[in-house]
Each structure stands twice: as structure tokens, then as C-alpha cells.
């Protein structure tokens, strides 16, 4: 099992631009991330869990909104109650303890990170929008098939359509991870991360920002 790396949950606030040192306008995404408390430490060596992970929480909620089993679980950390819990599988949880806060200070400007989010849902889309197919010509005898996928297979052999064939269907609204996203600025006083370029999801969408390298 591939281990995750240390990360933090946040909400995408939106995009803007900032001017770089060379005068260029850099598009950037602002993320309000953390602070995420550690709600459970799982260590294959010392606890009864069979794997090593950190469970972090994000966005405090009212006690009324937490059901009883959840309350008992979250109360062990001695913190408030949180809406979102996320487990990060790690190689080692050394240096992390129950109830400790993970903040944006773990990142530094210039660092590359991984950002995971749920992409914007586009509904049921045809192959031209979903897979960038070319469609059929607009004229020269083509009728009613201008945006069609064309042939989906061969002949008597293999007499089937191969699995994974690109076809029309649901587009977007799935988990997407962006790699090598550069951090332009970190503002611990407002719990803000300013990332270069775009990240998956709509405004106010939940994102997970993780370190690129393990450890």
C-alpha cells in the first residue's frame, strides 16, 4: 500500500491573480486550509491497528450535529467536533500526537504539492466534449451524425467492444488530483494557501493539499 503524505484539508475560496517579480500576472487559487487537528493516530507497531495513519478533522461543527458514536470517537482527541474526517496513510507517525493541530505552516512558498478535489460535474456528455473526439463533418452527405463517436469496434473478431472504450457518459464530479502545484504564498495568520494555477472543484469545494514528497 502506497503511503500518503502529510496534508491538510481546506476549502477553495476562488481564483485571482498576483503580480510576479518579473511583472507577469500569475493566475492563482486561494485556499483556506486548516487548522486540522489530529483526531486519531494509528500506528501498526504500537496500537492495535494494522496500518499506520493519521486521522485529521476539518471545519468545526456544533455538538448537536454529531451523532453519539461519532461523538465518542472524536472526543478522544479532546478537541471540538469536526464535519470532515480524513485518514492519511503514512510511513511513520513519529512526531504527531493526538489533538495536535496541523496548519498551513507545514508548507513553504516555492514548494510543490498535490491537490485533490472533486471536479465540477458536467452531467451526461457526448464524446466530443468528454473525450475531445472530432465528430463527423458538417456537410458532404453527413446527416444526423455530426457529433457521433463513429465506429466503436472491429468485425467478427473480436465481436465485442473493448472495455474502457471512450464513450458518452457522466463527465466531471469525480475525484481529481493535480500534481506539482506550486505554492506561491503561505499566510498562517489567515490560514491561507495561495497556489499557482487552478485546482479541481468549484468555489467552496473541499480540497486536500498534500506534500509531494514523503516524510
Amino acid at each position: 500500500m502506497m503511503a500518503d503524505t502529510l496534508g491538510i484539508m481546506g476549502r477553495k475560496l476562488g481564483m485571482t491573480r498576483i503580480f510576479g517579480d518579473d511583472g507577469t500576472a500569475i493566475p492563482c487559487t486561494v485556499i483556506a486550509a486548516g487548522p486540522c487537528p489530529v483526531l486519531q493516530v494509528k500506528d501498526a507497531a504500537t496500537t492495535k491497528d494494522k496500518y499506520t495513519a493519521l486521522q485529521i478533522g476539518f471545519e468545526e461543527i456544533d455538538e448537536k450535529k454529531v451523532n453519539k458514536p461519532e461523538k465518542g470517537h472524536q472526543a478522544k482527541a479532546g478537541r471540538d467536533y469536526y464535519r470532515f474526517l480524513k485518514e492519511l496513510r503514512m510511513d511513520s507517525v513519529e512526531g504527531h500526537e493526538l489533538g495536535q493541530d496541523l496548519t498551513v505552516e507545514m508548507f513553504a512558498p516555492g514548494e510543490k504539492v498535490k491537490v485533490t478535489g472533486t471536479s465540477k460535474g458536467k452531467g451526461f456528455q457526448g464524446v466530443m466534449k468528454r473525450w475531445n473526439f472530432r465528430g463527423a463533418p458538417a456537410s458532404h452527405g453527413h446527416e444526423k451524425i455530426h457529433r457521433s463517436p463513429g465506429s466503436v469496434g472491429m468485425c467478427a473478431w473480436p465481436s465485442k467492444v473493448f472495455k474502457g472504450k471512450k464513450m458518452a457518459g457522466q463527465m466531471g464530479n469525480r475525484k481529481v488530483t493535480c500534481l506539482n502545484v506550486e505554492i506561491l504564498d503561505v499566510r498562517p495568520e489567515d490560514n491561507l494557501l495561495i497556489l499557482k494555477g487552478q485546482v479541481p472543484g468549484p468555489k467552496n469545494g473541499l480540497v486536500l493539499v498534500r506534500k509531494q514528497n514523503r516524510g
Binding site: 475560496l13 498576483i18 503580480f19 486561494v30
Partner: protein
């Protein structure tokens, strides 16, 4: 949204004078060439001001050796050293694109009267 506005506010230049379409301005732009920095001035008539926060731009037109030259500057770019307001023009619209089709004496813009 408030946070994004705040981040944009930090970037805005407050030292740039107010001007609008029809005004004549001189833009001093910092240019880095071969590791050296110099300042290039560009004087002309403002065709339009595209408003906004950090994305605000303005278009300046001048006729250089009989060839019309237009440059679009980001208003809040740190590479704009300063903008001088040379004269205020009296025009009736906010985007004076009609100036592109005029030449010679017809392409002049009346300066704004002091009592306007």
C-alpha cells in the same frame, strides 16, 4: 470572497493618477533587457480604460511615423514606473475606437476646458 478582495487590494497601485478615455498620458514602463533595466516612455491617447481590480488595463494609442501603435498596459503592474497625465481630452464616449479610422487634423482631440 472577502479574502480574495483583500489579497487583490494589496496588489493595487494607488499612486497612478485617475484618467479616462480621450486623455493623453505618458506611460513610463520598466524594461529588462540583457540583465539591464531601463525605462521606456510611451505617450499617446487613452482609447479605453478596462476597469477591475488586479485585472484592470488601459489602451494607449499613438501614431508613430505614420503607423498607428496601440499598447495595452495592466494598470496595476509593478512594471509601470509611473503614468503622467499630459492633458485631459473632451470626448463623449468611454471607448474612442473611432479614432483609429481618423487621421491628420481629424484625429485631434479637443482638450478639456478648465470650467468643464
Amino acid at each position: 470572497m472577502e479574502i480574495i478582495k483583500k489579497i487583490e487590494q494589496e496588489q493595487l497601485r494607488i499612486d497612478i493618477p485617475q484618467f479616462k478615455a480621450g486623455d493623453t498620458v505618458k506611460v513610463h514602463q520598466r524594461i529588462i533587457e540583457g540583465g539591464k533595466e531601463r525605462i521606456q516612455a510611451f505617450q499617446g491617447v487613452v482609447l479605453r480604460v478596462h476597469r477591475g481590480t488586479t485585472n484592470a488595463t488601459f489602451t494607449v494609442r499613438k501614431v508613430s511615423d505614420g503607423v498607428g501603435v496601440e499598447r495595452i498596459y495592466p494598470l496595476h503592474s509593478p512594471f509601470i514606473e509611473r503614468v503622467e497625465l499630459i492633458s485631459e481630452g473632451r470626448v463623449r464616449r468611454s471607448r474612442i475606437y473611432y479614432l483609429r479610422n481618423l487621421k491628420g487634423k481629424a484625429a485631434r482631440i479637443k482638450t478639456k476646458n478648465q470650467w468643464d
